[in-house]
Amino acid sequence: MKEEIIIAGFGGQGVLSMGKILAYSGIMQNQEVTWMPSYGPEMRGGTANVTVILSDDRISSPIVHEFDTAIILNQQSLDKFEAAVKRGGLLLYDPNGITAPPARADVRVCRVAAAEEAAKMGNAKVFNMIVLGAFLKVKPVVKLENVVKGLQKSLPERVHSLIPMNEQAILRGMEIVEG
């Protein structure tokens, strides 16, 4: 198994932390992992993205220019990464704020209305976990139990009480993903 993933959106949407939780989940499942962020001024507003690779074998380049999965959370990122999804790969996006939806016919396109759902759940912060759940429903590259372990490892202990809420958001994302 090897999955090369780009997660891209606005700074503050939880793009980097979603990638980190996914990578930690991979470690909990005995996978090799890399997490490579864009860094610098774009982290302080503007677009942010992170490349996460999960693999059963040693990972060569942490930098790739074609992806098995693109998880897209704003229009700018869709413009930038739609063409970078491998043929037969997955493009998962949140339609919130998307004015020109993806047009690729040679990839699987899935939608998750995570921003809307997070608002319904009354907690904008679980947005990225809804997206993560949607991804794991379509591509179960790590088991949910390992994601929970990943959350325990990546979150400081003082916020461990919030893990059940995050788990709920992941489950909700699994339910509402379309396509």
Partner: protein
Amino acid sequence: MSELRLMKGNEVVAEAAIRCGCDAYFGYPITPQSEVMETLMELRPWETTGMVALQAESEIASINMVYGAASAGKRAMTSSSSPGVSLMAEGLSYLAGAELPCLVVNVSRGGPGLGTIQPSQADYFMATKGGGHGDFHLIVLAPSSVQEMHDFVFLAFDLAFKYRNPAMILADGVIGQMMEKVELHSPRPRCTDEELQKAVGSWAVTGKRHRSRNIITSVELDPAIHEKFNQKLQAKYAEIQEKEVRYEELLCDDAEYLIAAYGISARIGQKAVELLRAEGVKAGLFRPITLYPFPSKPMAARAGQLKGILCVELSAGQMIEDVRLAVGNCLPTAHFGRNGGIIHSPNEVVAALKKLKANCE
């Protein structure tokens, strides 16, 4: 008792420093290595191992604080990124001239000048050839994973003390900023005063008591004596070249073409080798781990079976000079590399190797 974690290369340098019994860190923030000091400040090692972690007023102050601590035989280190390391050039030369062990970590970024905060490997010359005035060398280790960022902190200190010579970890913005799985070594305690006396009492300024005076200096105004000192330094570098070469070869046994690359370019080069092998091109990866001493002999030993070497660096072509010195003119060599903070893709490396191949056949 090792421990698995997901960490950034920069964070793990801080963690490894504490775990390897480092006595003191002095630094000044600069992207893309600021997490080294940030992590130290979070971990507060002065409350546990007694290690000092201090933000100095500048890079120049940092390296001179390292000089002071190293003079007392302590395990001292600093970290910075390219423009900051330029500021340390004088201090590095003095440390080498006074034969002091220390660790300097350079998480390099694009230059020249203030350049860019994005990754680069354009500090190869500075690390291996210069880095200050006078005939001296740093021992230079080039990690290509977060695990090696961790392991090389231990190795660099060991080599620095073994040879009484400054050691450098030459990383890049990618290795510093990316997170990978890392297995942390079990902690090694800091030296006690008695252990320190035993290990470095012959040269360090540890308090005179019952021995003759130790003097730490890099000045010698008598040219005859100074020439002898320089010869002694050169003998030390010859010994380092003989004993401390480290490198990794991947799929080299039947290779006709080599990609020579270190750090992040070695990871990208490895992917290029995978892609080339899938197309039936017999390519292999030669990865220098020590940039000084450069693995000239093992590289030359491969020359006989090869049709060409592609040197891949995030620079305009620096390591290729050492590759050419190693294999001579008998073999076609070419450089490929993006620079200024742009990172080459594996596909670009594949295309560059095919171009070299077309020229060779």
